[in-house]
Symmetry: C2
Subunit: 340 residues, 2 copies
DNA sequence: TCACATACTGGAATCGGTTCCATCTCGGTG
DNA sequence: CACCGAGATGGAACCGATTCCAGTATGTGA
């Protein structure tokens, strides 16, 4: 395998000059640079990142901690992050860890603490203090996207406002019996994404004087299509108390709810209005009214912040104000309608 | 930052002994090992992978090239790979590259050729000769999962047999007007996954004397739910020539087809039978008849093969015979029925 | 009792870059 | 014309592990 010494010898310069010529740092005469580049190309020289990171301390690698890759939101975020990192010359190391457990501890104590990554992006993970402290001690920048936690930059939409807006949309249409399909743990973890959306729902219902109505109409279930399906069957089961509208905490749940309604012979939106959250790529096909967010863009944004924290000054987009919520947009389609 | 020299000094041994004690290679007295381990724990020593890989030449990192993360099959494979690599102490570097393009060349020439990964797993990618040659030259083991290409180990289901089986299932039920929702590029790339499934369909139809029928009933579209939806609308549009059964090349397409049928007022399976391929997690909810494959397991298997190729002898499962197709299973549910 | 294998340990070389520091040249300025 | 600073280059130290080799202590078989 060709090393930089071989390149230097072939070009008739020192290792130091060869390194400067190839990395672009420091002063090198144009003619010399071309000679070095030609020599490198001739013998197919490829720099060893291990050697470089040993001396510079930078790995050109960012760790991404993500609980799912197979939920639409997370997959989109991951793709966005990947594209942005690739463009900046960074590698992305994937750690697919969910809720607490041995694997999770192992990732934080062993993999991330090792000097393999320059920074960490945590997507939809509620980080414990121990975890943020561990990263902090190693002086590794941390960006959290859509999760709670103390250390590091926090990027997130305003989930409470989203929950409230979705509910208000249904209230505006005249609905009063509005149910909420919440994510698991919404009631026990009020700080989490699920919890905030639930809070927003409760807040809007209370503001409309429907607090007691709201309490009876929350079902917690998995943030997936089958989760929404079973949850909706449960809600729509009691004919007397049947809600006329459902606010699903994610579009995937909303799709499941729509299917459940059809299965029960209920027309959407005639008998049941449904609104979701996400702006899923299938939303248009289902005609789903939803509050869009832009996960791919969010991923790219997280990379911008991380790169900035790493001292790379290549920042195309302006960085978001710390703490300012990420953009969302209500898109009305054909699954919500005025109460008959 | 603590280095191994500090550990050695604290434990009163040489760097060499400290290294042996911590890595477990070579002979070290038990008492010494404990002293070294205690010293390491005391100062919070963490080995530098860069330094280690500089001398050993191994990075403990496997690159995964995958065109999507947001299609169910690919997400499942990715999760399976991630779990297995994590368990073996390897990191996973993700390269989300699709069809040919600048990014793709960049990944192969720049990222993968650099000495950052010990091996490569390519999922659903049809590798060019130039690409496999590039990896081969660097002596990097390559495992392809569900894609075509020459170099490296090939893991794949028998897509032709799957296509034939799905079609035969419908034929057995008395259907003759059987349409096929194929993936994009199925006709132009007969070697690809989409192409093989299409071949299987054509073969089974021809064997039943329905070759001419088959030709008229293939629509190529995206391997997604909206893809299946629009494709099915197209197929079911002509009332006279309307097929009584559809073989969709993936479950996600099948879901879209089911929705399209319902939208047109056609009962499933009364007016239209639908069969898919994958064993998607939503298949049960839709009652979908499908030919299951096991992507998570396939991912873990790919890791086993890679680790074997890397000389790690920790192989739990027996390695599959090279070339033997991966397991699949026909699961009959309620979207297929006998022709009325 | 001696020879010899084996367990254990330390010194030193090594991997392949980057970068500090010293040296030299040359053009511009007071 | 002397001086200064910027540009260009080379020598050498350095990052932090692993591992070869040599040396010592200990145990085993003849």
């Amino acid at each position: 395998m060709a090393a930089i010494g071989d390149v230097a010898r072939l070009a008739g310069v020192s290792k130091a000059t060869a390194s400067r010529a190839l990395s672009g740092r420091g002063h090198v005469a144009d003619a010399t640079r071309r000679r070095v580049e030609a020599a490198a190309a001739e013998i197919g020289y490829i720099a060893s990142p291990a050697a470089a990171s040993l001396v510079t301390g930078r790995t050109m690698n960012v760790g991404v901690v993500i609980p799912f890759v197979n939920r639409w939101f997370f997959g989109e975020v991951l793709e966005g992050i990947e594209q942005a990192l690739l463009a900046a010359g960074y590698d992305l190391t994937l750690y697919n860890v969910g809720s607490a457990g041995l694997d999770r501890d192992r990732v934080f104590d062993f993999f991330l603490a090792r000097k393999r990554v320059d920074a960490v992006i945590a997507v939809g993970v509620d980080l414990t203090e121990r975890e943020t402290a561990s990263l902090d001690r190693r002086e590794k920048p941390l960006v959290s996207l859509g999760g709670s936690g103390t250390g590091g930059a926090l990027l997130s939409i305003d989930d409470r406002a989203v929950g409230a807006l979705a509910t208000e949309h249904l209230l505006h249409l005249g609905h009063t019996r509005i149910a909420h399909l919440a994510g698991e743990g919404a009631s026990t973890h009020p700080e989490s994404v699920h919890g905030c959306r639930r809070e927003g729902y409760l807040e809007a219902m209370a503001a409309a004087g429907l607090a007691s109505e709201a309490d009876a109409h929350i079902v917690e279930t998995a943030m997936s299509m089958p989760g929404g399906y079973t949850g909706a069957l449960q809600l729509l089961g009691h004919p007397g108390r049947r809600p006329s509208a459902v606010f699903a905490a994610s579009d995937e749940m909303a799709f499941g709810a729509i299917r459940a309604a059809e299965r029960l012979g209920l027309a959407v939106p005639g008998d049941l209005s449904v609104i979701g959250v996400d702006g899923h790529e299938y939303a248009e096909m289902f005609g789903l009214t939803t509050i869009e967010q832009y996960p791919g863009e969010q991923g790219r944004l997280a990379v911008d912040v991380v790169l900035h924290l790493l001292g790379e000054d290549v920042v195309a987009d302006p960085l978001p104000d710390s703490g300012a919520p990420l953009p969302t947009r209500l898109v009305v389609r054909s699954t919500t309608a005025a109460l008959r």
